[in-house]
Amino acid sequence: MTRTIAVANQKGGVAKTTTVASIGGALSELGQRVLVVDLDPQACLTYSLGLDSEDLEFSMHDVLLGRVDARLVVTDTEEGPDLLPATIDLAGTEAHLLTRTGREYVLRSVLEDLAGDYDFILLDCSPSLGVLTVNALTAADEVLIPMQCETLSHRGVRQLLDTVEDVRRLCNRDLKVLGVLPTMYDSRTNLARRTLADVEERYGLAVMRPPIAKSVRPAEAPSAGRSVLATASGSRGAEAYRKVATRILEHA
């Protein structure tokens, strides 16, 4: 059965895209059939996996507007997972969907058609609360929350949990929080340790371990169009993402 996981945090710059690319790659290494979906008009996941969004004939924009079948847009990547890519036009999709009845369910309908082809579908959400993020949370079975261990990210978790409650109440009562993934974690700072402890205690959320340590390696990878698993395979970041992917697999 397919597990659909939304990687979401309304706060920007917390490594959502890096997490999707890396966990997607790690799950592929573990023999899983993986689809990653770029739901950010900035198309960072698309770029990170080696595609230039300017060169794409079709993208998630066309899929969500019902212009083209998702299977025609899915592309394979060197990293391993299949990709549903994005372009800047997704910004317009958001505006178009906003007036539509049943706007929360568009992505769910698209993914239902693809579900049998994959073991995991990972949704890379945009760093804002909009129709596309609500679509992702409505289509997902679980949500993984990457969190940089500092105050504003902590606050972002609270805001996202409020949204998760809304989604459960209104359109996806079965949505589960898989946990918080600490990213850019610097264990030398008190703030990082206290943030993590407070989030764990305050919300009773599972914290995925090991945390992804602060390092330049994952940030370097997108320029090569691969994840850190390929560009710095033996690095601490790559190993941490592999362990987290294994935990997610075992969590089923």
Partner: protein, 107 residues
């Protein structure tokens, strides 16, 4: 006596005192033109001249006009069973599947 009221003490940097506890009541009002606008399921309750239909298949609520409801009912069945409140076997305007629906007329 100082004419200036003392400032409230600021929380210390690096603490989380300003983040409300998990069980705090949410202050956000259900403004249909605010965050709730993201959810079509949260749209305004049916007003006079409209009705809401709740689908047991897709769990969505759709607000339809009375002529739309009549059109849906023309090819449907109304019965007191099987589930309390879900008395109409109709084609859901949201998911397109036939299932038991709860129909509520606006007032």
């Amino acid at each position: 006596m100082s004419p200036v009221a003392p400032r409230p003490q600021r929380p210390k940097p690096g603490t989380f005192d300003r983040i409300p506890p998990a069980d705090a009541e949410r202050k956000a009002k259900a403004d249909p033109q605010g965050k709730q606008a993201l959810f079509s399921a949260a749209e305004q309750p049916p007003s006079l001249g409209s009705a809401s239909v709740d689908c047991t298949h897709c769990h969505r609520r759709t607000v339809v006009s009375l002529p739309q409801l009549l059109k849906l009912s023309a090819t449907g069945v109304h019965a007191p069973l099987p589930k309390k409140g879900y008395k109409a076997w109709l084609k859901c305007p949201a998911c397109g599947e036939r299932s038991w629906m709860k129909v509520k007329l606006g007032r």
